[in-house]
């Protein structure tokens, strides 16, 4: 190594140079230390509040505890909607290292379908609070639960959570009355307190479950907790316990409901039974129903498509929304209207031919009996269901009195039943036709309405409710599903009382009309004479509703028609006639003859009035009678 400079090196100068550099470095160190302190000052003093808020947001979490949902009981204390513990497989996505790996590991343990994974993946990618668990598979069977529990330690982020789910023990016959709860959608959240529903698995969608959602839900518990970064709760800062939802006690009689459903057989149709002394709905059947349990944790696409595409429309609530011509079941009301406005009397006689004409040479409105009924009066017009009598009566009255009178029985408006989704049917009027068709009301329109056809459409609930009003001689109670909310009587909306009276000019007409309806059964020519032989009196009225219009002289020939074009078969009735405890409306869609709903009604009366149901319904008996 050459050391050519050695002799000339000025060590003092070099020492000074390096010492200067050390000094410069010291200045640099100080400057940089000031930079650090300035940075800390910025974060800790200037931005302090911002970060304090952030730290609190990190640490404090609001946890809602869903309250146990109120149960729904029938009149005999039978639980129709229950809460059941289930075990669900949940995953905290943040703790999962690799989803393909997890998927592969789980596939060796339990069956998780592709759609369950897809559903999970889409919810995982939505915005949510980190470290919250998401359900991967709900309602594990005991076997699945056991299998997963064994391997749980290997599966990071996977856990089994116990939850309460809704369970409907008695299935499809009750679906349209009780309704169901289903997975909470973002649309549902617009109408409720989002925070309260944070931990909830479902929300009431239809039926009683939907209508009484607020009551059944109760109040969510709310606690402020301190959590660590992995979402584990370290301590509770504040707590408000959940208030359980209130139980509902319905007027519904589970045995009657199931019996009515079964008696409809293979027909589609509806049965509504009401206790005229209270307005309580004893049975509200729409057939076919569906299994409401399918909806509780979100219905699968396949199941939903099957229900939606079924020609029998199982999801359609016929009792509340089915629009049917009331047909001849309207005649007792039409008769009372005639009496009320002086267009008919009990004594006036009428010669009933096989048809009715407004003008000679005009269109012939046919009676169901081609040969006619001969000389009859109002009472016999009910007993034999004389069409021509009501053609002429309606034509004499015109639509306005008909409209006004039937309005008093609730036609053309909702009954205010405590179920949502009720439709108001159609009670036509001059104004309605002008608005709808821009045409005047023709006399022929009245003639059709006279026998409950033409423009008039009513729901089973409306007809049943009007029948109940008739049975109680105008002492009318609004129909009601729910008897007790918790231990308080159910309230009525809009400050309505639970009843209102329909007062006729001559109140004796109630009794006379009921008498006439009694004779529908007891008279040798009564259209429901097949119901004779009971140890109590039945008052009733048959009806067959046209599904399609017959031409003037065309005859109805059931054999040559497809079943779906058969007439609807209807019946209204109540018993015991002089002191009614139950009134029923039944309709068999395309049932042809009204004997089917009449027989059904009698079977219900027998069972209900004698508390004597077939033994196969013992499981629906409940544990309390009141």
């Amino acid at each position: 190594m050459t050391r050519r400079h050695q002799n000339f090196r000025n060590y003092r100068q070099e020492q000074r140079l390096t010492q200067q550099r050390v000094l410069a470095a010291a200045v640099f160190v100080l400057l940089m230390a000031v930079v650090l302190m300035a940075r800390l000052f910025y974060l800790q003093v200037i931005e302090h509040e911002l970060y304090q808020t952030k730290a609190n947001d990190n640490r404090v979490m609001l946890v809602t505890e869903p309250p146990p949902r109120g149960l729904i009981y029938d009149r005999n204390g039978l639980v129709l909607a229950d809460n059941r513990p289930i075990h669900s497989l949940t995953v905290i996505p943040e703790r999962v290292e690799s989803f393909p790996k997890l998927k592969q590991m789980l596939s060796g343990i339990i069956d998780i379908s592709d759609s369950e994974w897809e559903d999970f993946d889409s919810r995982r990618k939505e915005y949510r609070r980190p470290y919250q668990s998401l359900t991967l598979k709900s309602q594990l069977t005991d076997e699945e639960w056991a299998k997963v529990s064994v391997d749980l330690y290997k599966l990071d982020g996977v856990q089994v959570e116990a939850q309460l789910t809704r369970y409907y023990p008695y299935g499809e016959a009750f679906a349209h009355a009780i309704g169901y709860v289903g997975r909470i959608t973002s649309k549902d959240l617009e109408t409720v307190d989002k925070l309260a529903y944070q931990g909830a698995l479902f929300i009431g969608k239809t039926g009683v479950e939907g209508f009484y959602e607020k009551t059944l839900f109760g109040e969510a518990g709310l606690s402020k907790v301190e959590v660590n970064a992995r979402g584990r709760i370290m301590s509770e800062l504040e707590r408000q316990n959940p208030t359980p939802g209130k139980d509902l006690h319905l007027y519904l009689d589970a045995r009657l409901q199931q019996y009515a459903y079964d008696l409809l057989g293979d027909y589609t149709g509806s049965v509504v039974a009401i206790d005229p002394t209270t307005g309580g709905i004893l049975a509200l059947v729409s057939k076919p129903g569906y299994d409401p349990n399918l909806f509780v944790r979100g219905i699968s696409v396949d199941d939903y498509a099957a229900l939606r595409q079924s020609k029998k429309l199982p999801l359609f609530n016929r009792a509340l929304r089915g629009g049917y011509p009331p047909a001849s079941t309207i005649k007792p009301f039409m008769g009372l209207a005639g009496l009320e406005y002086g267009f008919s009397s009990w004594t006036e006689r009428y010669f009933a031919k096989g048809y009715y004409q407004i003008n000679p040479d005009g269109r012939r409105y046919r009676d169901w009996k081609r040969t006619g009924h001969g000389w009859i009066d109002l009472e016999r017009s009910i007993i034999e269901s004389v069409d021509t009598y009501y053609y002429q009566l309606a034509n004499k009255m015109g639509i306005t009195p008909i409209h006004n009178f039937l309005t008093r029985f609730g036609f053309g408006q909702t009954t205010l039943l405590d179920l949502s989704g009720e439709s108001h049917g159609l009670l036509p009027s001059n104004e309605w036709k002008k608005a709808k068709y821009k045409e005047p009301w023709y006399p022929g329109d009245s003639v059709n309405v006279g026998i409950g056809q033409g423009f008039m459409v009513a729901t089973p609930l409306q007809i049943a409710s009007a029948t109940s009003a008739l049975a109680s001689k105008g002492h009318y109670f609004y129909p009601r599903m729910t008897r007790l909310v918790g231990d308080q009587p159910a309230e009525f909306p809009d400050g309505l009382g639970d009843e209102h009276d329909i007062v006729l000019k001559d109140q004796r007409n109630w009794g006379r009309m009921i008498d006439a309806m009694r004779k529908v059964v007891t008279d040798p020519h009564g259209t429901a004479r097949r119901l004779q032989g009971t140890d109590y009196e039945i008052a009733g009225k048959t009806g067959t509703g046209q599904v399609f219009s017959l031409q003037e002289d065309q005859e109805y020939d059931a054999d040559s028609l497809e079943k779906r074009l058969h007439d609807h078969a209807l019946f209204i009735g109540f018993a015991p006639a002089r002191n009614p405890k139950i009134s029923v409306f039944a309709i068999f869609e395309n049932g042809g003859s009204s004997s089917k709903p009449a027989d059904l009604t009698k079977a219900l009366f027998d069972a209900y009035l004698h508390d004597d149901y077939p033994a196969r319904y013992d499981y629906l008996k409940g544990d309390k009678n009141d």
Binding site: H5, T18, V22, L36, Q44, Y51, N58, A229
Partner: protein, 373 residues
């Protein structure tokens, strides 16, 4: 602060005795101050894990023993050994690249018989300034252009090898320790300014050499909010911890960010955030002051060292120690990217404690082996 001031301050004890065992009392005192404060923070940061604190104490005691042992070795032997050591460690670095072991895509250790592992890059932090200081020890200062190029060559080779492992933090510190020697040796200001102007190009070149996860760190540093649950989480949480601490802090063991585990790596790289959260800006100020005390004594030793080798080495080691601290606090508080540099002597674990204590051993040796004048 003059030497006589220190002498007077030490009059309560026998200065000669300390001279005899080659311990610089002031440096040792400020180090112990820093270390004990660090253990205090670690207790909180570890979630009151006494066993962890005990392991740290054990490591520090080993470090102190090495420090005192190295202090016995006169600087001239260090100087003579410098080139040999440099070549040896460089060979080991090549070995790491070929046969190294490691985890998470980084290959940093050499496996030794008996299950022990050895990290040559850590030693390079000391050997690099020794080498460069040795290079200048018999050359006239300031360095000429040729010498500068030669020195840069010496620096670049091991740094690239370390960066390739990849271990950006260590590579940076090794590079810096060499460059500091160059600076202290009197590198012309025009070179310094020129280098500053070329920094963007260097930055681009560095980017090309980076692994994806390193690039991710830089991108996250530039915009942590872009990925708040992923790679931005650490920096957001550490800023939140620091900021929420305020001027006086939330109190010992009361930091919610640290105690509830929102703060990641709270006992290692991010430990300063625990201090900042629980003791506020005041606590941080005291810690920074403790560091400055150590650094001040180190620079004093450098300025008063006997020869160029000792001056350059002592100065560079002290400044590297400062860079350690600055980079760590800078990254935790969000003014530098997260490069995985621990807070020296305070962060839990790592071989860094041993090497850092070794550097202070060298400083003590330089201070206590001076011929009496």
């Amino acid at each position: 602060m003059t030497d006589s001031f220190y002498r007077r301050a030490l009059s309560f004890t026998n200065a000669r005795l300390w001279q005899l065992v080659h311990v610089d009392v002031l440096l040792m005192g400020s180090l112990l101050l820093l270390i004990s404060g660090g253990l205090f923070i670690l207790y909180s940061a570890s979630g009151q894990d006494v066993a962890m604190v005990e392991r740290q104490v054990f490591r520090l005691v080993i470090g102190l023993l090495i420090c005192v042992a190295l202090a016995q070795l006169p600087p001239k032997y260090m100087r003579r050994a410098s080139p040999t050591l440099f070549i040896f460690i460089t060979v080991l670095l090549i070995g790491v690249l070929l046969f190294g072991v490691g985890a998470k895509g980084a290959q940093r250790w050499l496996a030794l018989p008996g299950g022990l592992r050895f990290q040559p890059s850590e030693i390079m932090k000391i050997v690099m300034p020794m080498m460069i200081a040795w290079y200048f020890s018999d050359r006239q200062l300031p360095p000429n252009f040729k010498q500068i190029l030669a020195v840069l060559g010496l620096i670049v080779l091991p740094v690239l090898m370390i960066a390739k492992q990849p271990d950006l933090g260590t590579a940076l510190l090794v590079a810096v320790s060499g460059i500091f020697v160059l600076f202290l040796a009197g590198l012309g200001w025009r070179y310094i300014l020129g280098a500053a102007a070329l920094a963007p190009i260097a930055g681009y070149t560095l980017w090309q050499f980076m692994h994806d996860y390193q690039r991710q760190r830089v991108l996250t540093f530039l915009n942590p909010e872009s990925d708040p649950l992923g790679s931005g989480w650490n920096i957001i949480q550490s800023k939140t911890a620091i900021g929420s601490g305020g001027l006086y802090g939330k109190g010992f063991l009361e930091g919610t960010q640290a105690q509830l585990d929102f703060l990641p790596e709270s006992h290692t790289d991010f430990i300063i955030a625990v201090l900042a959260e629980e003791f506020g800006m005041l606590g941080c100020g005291v810690l920074v002051l403790a560091y400055l005390l150590v650094i001040a004594r180190g620079l004093y030793i450098a300025a008063n060292a006997e020869d160029n080798y000792a001056r350059l080495l002592a100065g560079s080691l002290t400044l590297t120690f400062f860079v350690y601290m600055f980079v760590n606090i800078g990254m935790v508080s969000g003014i530098l990217p997260v490069v995985g540099v621990p807070l020296p002597l305070v962060s839990y674990g790592g071989t860094s404690i041993i090497t850092i204590m070794a550097t202070f051993g060298i400083l003590m040796s330089i201070q206590t082996h001076k011929r009496a004048r």
